[in-house]
Subunit: 229 residues, 4 copies
Amino acid sequence: MEEPLREIAVLDHGFVKLVDFMGGDMAVVQAARVSFGKGVTEPERDRKLLAFLLANRHETPFEHSVFKFHIKCPLFVARQWFRHRIASYNEISGRYATLNEEFCLPEVLRTQKAKNYRYERMAEPENSVLKGKMAAFYQAAYDLYRELLQNGVAKEHARMVLPLALYTQFYWTINARALMNFLSLRLDKHAQDEIRHYAEAIAGVFAEYMPWTFDAFKRYVVSGEKWIE
Amino acid sequence: MEEPLREIAVLDHGFVKLVDFMGGDMAVVQAARVSFGKGVTEPERDRKLLAFLLANRHETPFEHSVFKFHIKCPLFVARQWFRHRIASYNEISGRYATLNEEFCLPEVLRTQKAKNYRYERMAEPENSVLKGKMAAFYQAAYDLYRELLQNGVAKEHARMVLPLALYTQFYWTINARALMNFLSLRLDKHAQDEIRHYAEAIAGVFAEYMPWTFDAFKRYVVSGEKWIE
Amino acid sequence: MEEPLREIAVLDHGFVKLVDFMGGDMAVVQAARVSFGKGVTEPERDRKLLAFLLANRHETPFEHSVFKFHIKCPLFVARQWFRHRIASYNEISGRYATLNEEFCLPEVLRTQKAKNYRYERMAEPENSVLKGKMAAFYQAAYDLYRELLQNGVAKEHARMVLPLALYTQFYWTINARALMNFLSLRLDKHAQDEIRHYAEAIAGVFAEYMPWTFDAFKRYVVSGEKWIE
Amino acid sequence: MEEPLREIAVLDHGFVKLVDFMGGDMAVVQAARVSFGKGVTEPERDRKLLAFLLANRHETPFEHSVFKFHIKCPLFVARQWFRHRIASYNEISGRYATLNEEFCLPEVLRTQKAKNYRYERMAEPENSVLKGKMAAFYQAAYDLYRELLQNGVAKEHARMVLPLALYTQFYWTINARALMNFLSLRLDKHAQDEIRHYAEAIAGVFAEYMPWTFDAFKRYVVSGEKWIE
């Protein structure tokens, strides 16, 4: 569909592809210096300015850098993703397209005690037994979806039987400021493991295209380091 | 959970509840007149001003009126709903709560010819036969969800088998301007029938709480009537 | 123009008036508990939940509470104010209304050394001398504005001579989450003193209408206190 | 400060510079076709799809194209500009920088009858006489600004005497959907003449970088042409 600048496989059938990019670390510096009626200077000073901005919550200069991704992820991940409102989305539509038979089946299921958010890896053979039931269920779901379509049921009705494990695809355009907000929430240890894998792939792209910003983000936002003059 | 101001049943298990409201037609007039350093006058003039605003795309005065709804709808409807970004959402979480066994089963399935977006009602007995299969499938999906939970699978993993027909709930706060945008898109004949039922319920609440605005909205936005001085 | 719920004088001619409000601390709790499919419980638990949310950056439940203010402030303050994009504004228009002769003249001018952002109070008699010149200049500006209007110059052109000290008025509707963002930036010691006075007036209103939220905001956002389970 | 892709002089001292761009007509097509699980096809079909989207209010595919401008305009224009909230701004700060002595003086002043929004060109010699007074006043304003600074008054206080005719500068990043909203409002005959000049310069850049989109925008948004299948 396009030739991505970067492509990273995520989970069993998903991916993160960078398809377009605008801006970069120097665009941050340039936007910040307009406050002073000035432009970029030498690297060391510029980099320090950029770190200062992030450490002191001057976040608007980061909005002039923009990433466009092509994402493929399960529906339950997409539902978390689309909560981020300061971004642009165009997704494959189950009203217009016949959806592909691709479902997320985790390598190892996680367990959880009642009223507790600590997760453990499910032991074998339980893990394989339950995954087998899930896989069979996915097959049954897609068979019913196909049967409904073959009997003339409208796509928008037939898709109702598809489970949240189904993969979807979308374009996602987001500026670097909103992207850092996404990453700070979705790289967090409280985020669901599956979306965290996507966040890590995106963080890798971010680090490559805006290395100074990513470095300052890790220190002053993620680790909460204090700025010392 | 709360005592709604208005409550309307939608689809087989859903609802639209108005739980809070701020503003109204006079708040629109008040906000518009601040441009002139003036306030409200007599009803006839005020109502004409309000219609003029909407007919001529002066939409910001409508932002000071705010509706808070409690919505219960199927996941495939919620996914369309959450695309509207200028609004606030808090939804029940499948990571934190065990989701209820409630699925959307249409009274009459819609059919669709290939490469065509005209929908027909499915004839009997096909309709009952296919609905029977869907209902059985919903039961199987929820049984598997329960089995996974009983075997200690984390809620966030177990929910992957739940289909898009599942009902969810959320709070939705939106200003009157963004609400009119929602309504103009979701009352449209190209919108999926299920979300259109929700839009109609919401339009009824809107008409009750902002009657002048709703009337002008129907004439100048929905019907595309031209303003004549 | 309206009967405000609360009114506070700010600077020499300005004010902050609360004219409408929706929500409150319990609306935050209600929106947060929907994640668990639950509602409000007893005060102590609810208040702790609310503090937990703010301390751990779960900010969306605060969006369902909305404040509507009527603000009067100088143009140079309004220009800082309107940078906050997640809010609604309707302002008096210099194209449609003749603007009033009201200018901001600080009680004591601030001084500043070159390349330095530490401010001192200007000593007398310099302060009075320079303020006298500013007052005379404001008078000259308004005289010219009036002369241009009397000669038939369009309002939108005549206003070009009015200085940034001129007072303007606007309605401002903002949810509690965006309001906290405004306050955290504009109560800060790096904010300009004049807008900080407005932020303090607004903080007083906020504390009165959402006391639990304001208390948690001070501890976990402003003071950066860490949450301890 | 940067090497613009395009630069256009506007008014007496202003400019519009395109400094970065991402996307284009094909990016619109690509984003729209993801709904069908498809990509770009041949030009004629793609162009027709793009026009269909705009004519039928499918506006999200236009959000993946992003323009970054460097703008120089008078403060009274900037105040109208910054009302557009779905965009990113970084402006020179009168708190941090000494502002330049550049003021907008229209070639011909506009006149306006009371309670009327029809504007005429002011006749000579009145026009020259009044413009002479405005120019002298601008000089006096800047002289006082300089005097205040020389006496140690803080920049943030001294600027209070500067009139709305003063030129300012900012970076402005905006996606094509929000840009079309800006253009439809600011190219309109009810917009103030000065900002309309900026809108026309920007429309020229837009037409060059997204020719199919601009053409469809003119037909289906500006002229209100109906879509015929």
